[in-house]
Amino acid sequence: MRYENNTSNFAKVAFLLFIAAFFIITFLILHKASHPQNPTFSEVAYSNLLSESIDEDADNGEVLFTSELIPESLPVAHASSLDALPDGKLIAFWFAGSREGATDVKIWQSVYDGKKWGSVTDVVSPNQTANDTKRFTKKVGNPVVYRSINGILHLFIVSVGIGGWSGSGLNHYMSHDNGKTWGRGERLILSPILNISTLARTSAVTLSDGGFYLPVYHEFIRKYPEMLRFDRDGNFMSQTRLNSYTGLLQPSILPLSNLKAYAYLRTHRKYDNHLYYEVTKDGGITWSEPKPTNLSNENSSIVVAQVDKNKYLMVHNPSKRDKLSLAISNDGVKWTEVYSLEDTIGNEFSYPSIQVHGDIVDIIYTWKRKNIKHVRFNKAWLNQKAGELNNDE
């Protein structure tokens, strides 16, 4: 009798094992068939020389430099993000309200038609995010906009249900008409711990398959940088951690070729104020150890872009946030400060966002925490400033 029971149990286990093995092997075959290709950076991302200038007046070698505040009346404005639209237009997003983290803070949007900024409209509020994602949402912040190759405008915003910014989740909105209307927001599932603490700040990088990398960072307990990969339709695919060291966050990605890119990192460390960078040589799958650049960074967001062949531009706070500067580099490692956009003690000029299109460079940033400021210049102006610096030396 006992023997029969054992035989029966053995048969059951063997059957279950067979089912499990069959299931898993079938699954592996199916999964292998649908496995995505290794990523490579799009030529668009590392060679803006391909793009046409959006300001033809400035293409004649004349120096261009303009600056203006985006008109807006709320007490606090911060964390702006910029991207280019067709016909030379720009679109900007930022959060504004009574104070950072308040429940009345919304995400605001404005379009630049090449001459002036249009009316400011609210796009996303905590209530709307709550209704879209079917999750309690207390506050929203840090919008990041990106226009993909197929013309879809992606808007990523962080939202918090409980706690501070380190408890944030990331939400994804898409527009198929350049920001006139927006689809229903979707909460991205990015963390095994209560799906919290994935924040975005810097803009995405285009991949050759039409998808993109969105640089993000983790804040809960430890701060480290990550990248999210999306396909050309805006579907989230995977995430990659750039390093596990604490205190390095908000990566700004600078593609140099189809496989090589630098990531520059904000430093949030008590006894270290170097600006760090790391390198990938396989399209962002693996990254090197972080190394310090010759610039310093005291817990401030930075952005980097290519302005010419072997010429890179960084917007950063060299010390405190009361000074915002431009630095250029020929190799992406050694940087030279060429111009101070802002330098007023006691004020804050921070969180820059950059767009380079042909000959024109557009930068927007937080101005005194009250407004978003837009600065436009051309490469002739930048070359002039770099030349002045060389002459001084």
């Binding site: 709550a130 079917k134 430890r222």
Partner: protein
């Protein structure tokens, strides 16, 4: 493709409604002790089942704050629960109706007393895996274990090995749960694209931790 939000909403709703049932059972003494008559046990079990279903419908459909239901409020705080948690909660529900020895009306933690929901071997494996996964995710382990869940070919081998462990420890039910979870991952039944999120979650990990050390 089914609605990605549906399953996670149902899971959160079940969790809250079972917690409510426990609370109501404690408050009104709806307990069916082992010494009770079989008939009484059956009545109590059925009553708790009804309470759970009513609570489930309320937390799923009745707005309580800014047009959000209790389930949606919970999802804003604890995120999405795994398929395994959903299946275990369904087991709890089923046990409440048909197996009166297993009671959610006890002052024991949600899942369950001596009688194996979750199984101790299962709880042990979840706790160990969770320790590695969560440490890695927080950056204390340099290798990102969570990342494997996006391209889970190696993880399948691990899952297969663990399923065999479940069978070894006579926890066939949990082997089946994980097979269903893997199947749900393939059909993207939840919003997540990561296999780990289908296998377990922090709530289940906590339940397993309590199960492991409390009983």
């Amino acid at each position: 493709m089914m609605n990605n939000n549906l399953i996670t909403t149902v899971t959160s709703g079940l969790l809250i409604s079972i917690l409510i049932t426990i609370f109501v059972s404690i408050m009104f003494g709806l307990r069916a002790n082992n010494s009770d008559l079989v008939v009484k046990q059956a009545k109590m079990g059925f009553l708790r089942f009804i309470i759970t279903i009513v609570a489930f419908l309320i937390v799923l459909f009745v707005p309580v704050y800014k047009s959000l239901t209790l389930t949606e409020l919970l999802r804003g705080i604890i995120g999405d629960l795994s398929i395994t948690t959903l299946l275990i909660l369904l087991l709890v529900l089923r046990n409440n109706l048909f197996n009166h020895q297993i009671s959610v009306g006890e002052f024991e933690p949600l899942v369950m007393r001596y009688n194996k929901v979750p199984n101790r071997a299962f709880a042990f494996i979840i706790v160990v895996l969770g320790c590695f996964l969560y440490s890695s995710y927080l950056g204390y382990i340099r290798f990102d274990i969570y990342d494997i869940g996006y391209f889970p070919s190696p993880l399948f081998m691990l899952v297969l090995g663990i399923i065999e462990l479940f069978l070894w420890f006579s926890a066939r039910r949990y082997a089946l749960l994980w097979l269903i979870a893997v199947l749900c991952f393939y059909f993207k039944c939840e919003s997540s694209h990561n296999l780990w999120d289908y296998l377990f979650d922090p709530v289940l990990w906590l339940i397993c931790l309590i199960r492991l050390f409390r009983f």
